[in-house]
């Protein structure tokens, strides 16, 4: 195997659902980002980090949830995620789950916005008893969005902040994230397989604008007929 020789400029986006500033949730996201940056730079890449503090989106969240209308800050966050090579998502655990703000934010996004993007998941909590929230709740959310979660989850309860092993897990997750960004997985999936995923006109943060004029539905739109009952109709399958 030849040595990695491609040097890339990675765009990394930290999505922080911590409510105060500073907060341990923001700190966790920032530490993963810093570690990923260090690792990537050692490997000859450059990294630009953008942080999306979800608290700043709160005034726009009610409108986004009620009517799907995204305000300026929401739109900027979507733009950043769309252009991201890697994502770090960090949330506090409330009532044994990711914060409502965190979940709501990702529920508003287009289904195809994060397809194949590497993502490192982090959560903070007041007690170690919430340790499986990342694996059991956050992973399923990002699985639905077809994002690629790194193997190491970064969970930090109050006592973890004094434990060196948190730093080890942060570095491990960051290393995995950098490797996945380096692999070009997202680029290949989007380049070669994008049409295999379901899209809506204007989805993927407003960029999914191609129209397939040769689909069964387009033939039907222009006076054609459908194939017999038992044949599938392409383009309207679930998932």
């Amino acid at each position: 195997m030849s040595e990695q020789t491609t040097h890339s400029a990675f765009r990394l986006v930290v999505v922080n659902a911590g409510i105060s500033d500073p907060s341990s949730t923001k700190l966790l996201g920032d530490r993963v980002a810093q570690s990923a940056r260090d690792i990537a730079e050692q490997r000859g890449h450059t990294v630009a980090v953008t942080t999306v503090d979800l608290r700043e989106l709160l005034p726009e969240l009610s409108g986004a949830l009620a009517s799907g209308l995204l305000g300026q800050r929401f739109t900027a966050a979507v733009d950043a995620l769309r252009e991201a090579d890697g994502v770090i998502a960090s949330t506090p655990v409330y009532k044994a789950g990711p914060s409502g703000l965190f979940s709501s934010f990702f529920q508003v996004l287009d289904n195809d916005l994060l397809i194949a993007k590497p993502i490192a998941l982090g959560a903070t909590a007041g007690t170690a008893r919430h340790a499986l929230v990342v694996d059991e709740q956050m992973r399923s959310l990002f699985a639905y969005l077809r994002a690629l979660s790194v193997p190491t989850s970064v969970f930090a309860s109050t006592e973890d902040w004094q434990d060196k092993s948190l730093g080890t897990r942060i570095d491990r997750a960051a290393f995995e994230l950098v490797l996945l960004m380096e692999s070009g997985f997202e680029r290949s999936v989007r380049g070669e397989s994008w049409r295999q995923y379901q899209h809506e006109y204007g989805s993927a943060g407003g960029t999914e604008l191609s129209i397939d004029l040769n689909s069964d539905l387009m033939r039907l739109a222009t006076g054609g007929s459908l194939a017999p009952e038992n044949a599938g109709i392409t383009g309207i399958d679930e998932g």
Binding site: G63, S67, G206
Partner: protein, 403 residues
């Protein structure tokens, strides 16, 4: 340029006085609003179609026929007629009847609807909503253009030698608008047939509307109906107008904040910024409406939503008064002055008759005598040659009208 109002027929509690109008009151108020729209100089009245409370408009052609009888000039139409859950045969029959009774002062806008439970009420499956809409319209298009139709499809029992009666007035099919928010297939179908495309416009950022209209215009040209700028485009809008801006905002705000669709979400100011909603003085309504053509091009029909979310009947009448006296006349003048001279007006029955027949008399179908079996054969009308029911063509009446 046509200006009008469109209603979804919601019966909503007035959040200011807490009163919910009865169905009877709301239906009367809607008829009065339509009549008032003509009085103050508007051109079009459109009603939606729903089959569940709190809406009243399950039977649009009955309402529209009544309104047509009370008016002289107003064009009555829908916003929208459900092409999914209605049998296209019934749409063909009912709207042809409306066309006769209104003497051609009607057209129809087709849409899929957004209420999931309505599909099973009419024996349909929402998962098939889009192919259902497309197939149904292909059939409807033929039913209005061919005296005798043989048809087979996926979503409806086959037809053999079927004649939809009455034939369209002057044998000219009603003009059709296709309403869609973000479905390119619907825009494609509108373009393929040379029909109109209507963008609801009111709940979405303008980029959505802009993209869909642009696609429709390109495809309209592609199918040879004229240049892209000559495609037939309609837009929705939403206004609340008062003599001065502050009154408009303070009067409308309680209705906005409690509105069934977007209430308790974005603020009035945010919604105004992000969507075509215009709340303010006549000049503010004029300025905002004039900005629409900057992103969709010159268009033919502008409908305003002015009666939803529990706004009382009196306020709707006041809205119409102000729109008719201070807003629409200015918009008409300004938009006419800016319009590209090659852009046509929205088709009317008169213009479609002219396009089909020139100065000749329109066809007036007269049926042959009932053969006793209540089944029409190859040629049910006196002016058409008897042909075997091979489903091919029925002569002149099968020609498409290219407006």
């Amino acid at each position: 340029m046509q200006f009008g109002i469109f209603s979804v027929s919601d019966i909503t509690r007035d959040p200011v006085n807490g009163v919910t109008p009865s169905e009877a009151e709301r239906i009367d108020a809607t008829v009065n609003a339509a009549v008032k729209a003509e009085e103050v100089g508007l051109d079009v009245f459109a009603i939606g179609e729903h089959h569940n409370p709190p809406f009243f408009s399950s039977s649009p052609t009955t309402l529209l026929a009544h309104i047509a009888a009370l008016t002289k000039r107003l064009v009555v139409t829908t916003s929208t007629t459900l092409i999914t859950t209605n049998d296209p045969v019934r749409i063909a029959e009912e709207y042809a009847m409306l066309q006769h009774l209104s003497k051609g002062r009607m057209d129809v806008m087709l849409g899929r609807g957004n209420t999931a439970p309505v599909y099973p009420w009419f024996g349909q499956d929402i998962r098939q909503g889009l192919p259902l809409a497309l197939e149904h319209y292909n059939l409807l298009h033929r039913l209005w253009r061919e005296d005798v139709v043989d048809w087979e499809g996926r979503f409806r029992t086959p037809l053999q030698g079927f004649t939809s009666t009455p034939r369209p007035l002057d044998d000219v099919p009603p003009f059709v608008w296709h309403g869609s928010i973000r479905t390119p297939e619907i825009a494609e179908q509108a373009a393929f047939y040379g029909d109109g495309f209507f963008a609801n416009h009111i709940f979405w950022p303008k980029e959505h509307t802009q993209r869909m209209v642009e696609f429709y215009r390109q495809r309209f040209e592609h199918y040879g109906h004229g240049s892209a700028k000559q495609a037939i485009v309609g837009l929705g809008g939403q206004t609340y107008v008062a003599k001065n801006s502050q009154d408009a905002k303070s009067e409308f705000r309680p209705y906005f904040d409690e509105a069934p669709v977007y209430g308790h979400g974005p603020t009035l100011e945010e919604f105004t910024e992000m969507t075509p909603l215009a709340v303010g003085s006549p000049q503010e309504i004029i300025d905002k409406t004039l900005s629409f053509r900057e992103y969709v091009g010159d268009y033919q029909r502008q409908l305003f939503l002015i009666d939803h979310a529990g706004l009382p009947a009196g306020a709707v009448q006041d809205q119409l008064e102000l729109l008719g006296s201070e807003v629409i006349p200015v918009l008409r003048k300004e938009m006419d002055a800016r319009r590209d001279p090659e852009v046509p007006d929205a088709p009317t029955h008169q213009s479609l008759v002219k396009a089909k027949y020139g100065d000749a008399d329109p066809r007036q179908p007269r049926p042959n005598a009932n053969r006793g079996d209540n089944v029409t054969g190859g040629s049910p009308y006196q002016d058409t040659d008897e042909i075997a029911g091979d489903g091919d063509s029925t002569g002149e009446s099968a020609e498409e009208v290219s407006a």
